[in-house]
Point group: D3
Chain length 127, copies 6
């Protein structure tokens, strides 16, 4: 493990997903998944998100589009929240979901809008 | 067909993909695919790309990432060229391809980098 | 928007999915998804389903097969109901699901049969 | 192996794909793939295509749509030829490819139309 | 149906998935899915799992990796249990899930670990 | 970068893919892809392949199966060669490709067998 990359990754992960989510993930890690948690933090959040040429909004828009296109709905929820945490407006995420519908097919778009509306309602419930 | 949406779509398509490509596509259209050409121009370039909340660079970054994730390499080539035409820097497309590698798997990233380098070499040959 | 294509799309959508479903979708549309609802009605149900060379049974069989192959299970439910509404027999949808199992893999087939049986039971409960 | 199912499969495979293609596949089979050739003939062409509730045109339309949606272009070529051999009209396969574009995304549709036009030109060259 | 292949398939299926699961599947089969149940048993468990060059652990590791990569989570659950029934250690399935995360993308890995932990907890609850 | 993990990754990568391939990849790396080359070596070959619970044959069988299932044919070629370099027998890779055909669909299996035969012929040509 490169500690500098890991630490940078942990900071970015916390800023994008929120402390509550990350604290929960770390606390629940056990022998079976704790090195995977570390792997994700270092490579995904440190070595990839830590690169310098795109801002976080752009990364979030890329991610929610790819995740919807591939039907990875559990991670879509995480990163849709991340997109809003990173300051994407509702109109921006909506336009990204139109790209999903056109380039990955209407069914991916329909499920993406349905998930997005559920997540938005849950965020309002918490606010 | 909504002529306004179609005309807007045709303008955007020409600006992103270049007149040479679009002239070629229109000239080669025959009975079998000409209504599909029209459909793509109106639906994809007019009704989707014509929306107002994201700029063209952001749309290009979303598209090349989704296309690589889904393994749609013919369209990846088109939109990778479009991303550069829209002003994305090499460092920005590179960072997007890192997201592809991490979120859609290393093999998608490897093929994306390989295609990207071939396209970059071809653009240099033409310049 | 092309109003003629939209209106045709709305008629077809109602005939395939039922008034109850469509009324519900329209009533629940809000600022976030109402233009997407319109987009789906015009392009998917009008410009695609409204074409003339295939009948509705054939379109339904194509759709349930593609949706199962891609693992788009929310939309599979919608279109499996649509296939039965369009008059496909149980033996016909069953044969289509065999194609799914063979061409998209046994797991797609297993999930398709499982979803199909659940939907059939729900339709019997309503009848 | 169930010889009856295998023999039925071989007949259907020959009728759909043509004797030339199947003779070639059988002649080229070696130790590495000959039991796979047999498996495909029995399982795919006998036990699946040999079922009774859909005619061959409908099976072909289902297959070319699924294959394009999944990006299986080698097999798409085979089954697009099969669809025409089975009597599907150009307008019917065109409408199926519109479903691909809408439900599996424009890039799948674009590649499907491009492959279809190449195959049509090759068939004309042979005729 | 080749009765010998079917019977071999049924034995293997019972050994990998457990009698309880298979008895349940057979008892619940109805007119709609009973020939599909037979088809799966003969071709998948007999003609494929019954081949001789790989042991069952190796087949299970291949299957859970492919199923996670393709997002077939219902069948993933079945075969993750099968992998443990076949004697794969926790460290072995964990290493396979690392391959999923790297080759099919982090989101496939995250969902695979999440599903795996739920299944492990359920097995402990039963033990 | 963790130098230890990188160095382990480089050793494993050379042993699996051969010095000729890796030397070529390193020599051709330029500003656009050299940090991606490093990322792949550390993350994929070091942190994933370097784990201890599966031997290299098992990792290769997992990889060729996932790559065929996802249609990543460029990387399939690399890892099919790797599987043979790692000592998998022809009968073992053949059995793995049967799992691909059954679990990811016949078209994935057909393309996998076709690619495999081409690669085997090329290896014989070199030997």
């Amino acid at each position: 493990m490169d500690e500098k990359v890991y630490d940078d990754g942990m900071s970015i992960r916390r800023e994008v997903l929120g402390d509550e989510y990350v604290d929960n993930a770390m606390r629940n890690a056990d022998d079976f998944n704790k090195d995977f948690q570390q792997f994700v933090t270092e490579y995904c959040w440190g070595a990839c998100w830590g690169r310098g040429a795109l801002d976080r909004k752009q990364r979030s828009l890329i991610n929610i589009s790819m995740l919807a296109a591939m039907g990875r709905w559990e991670e879509f929820e995480l990163h849709f929240n991340g997109a809003l945490n990173n300051g994407c407006s509702l109109d921006q995420v909506k336009d990204a979901l139109f790209h999903v519908a056109v380039y990955a097919g209407i069914p991916a778009g329909v499920s993406a809008f349905k998930n997005a509306r559920r997540i938005l309602a849950e965020r309002e419930g918490k606010a």
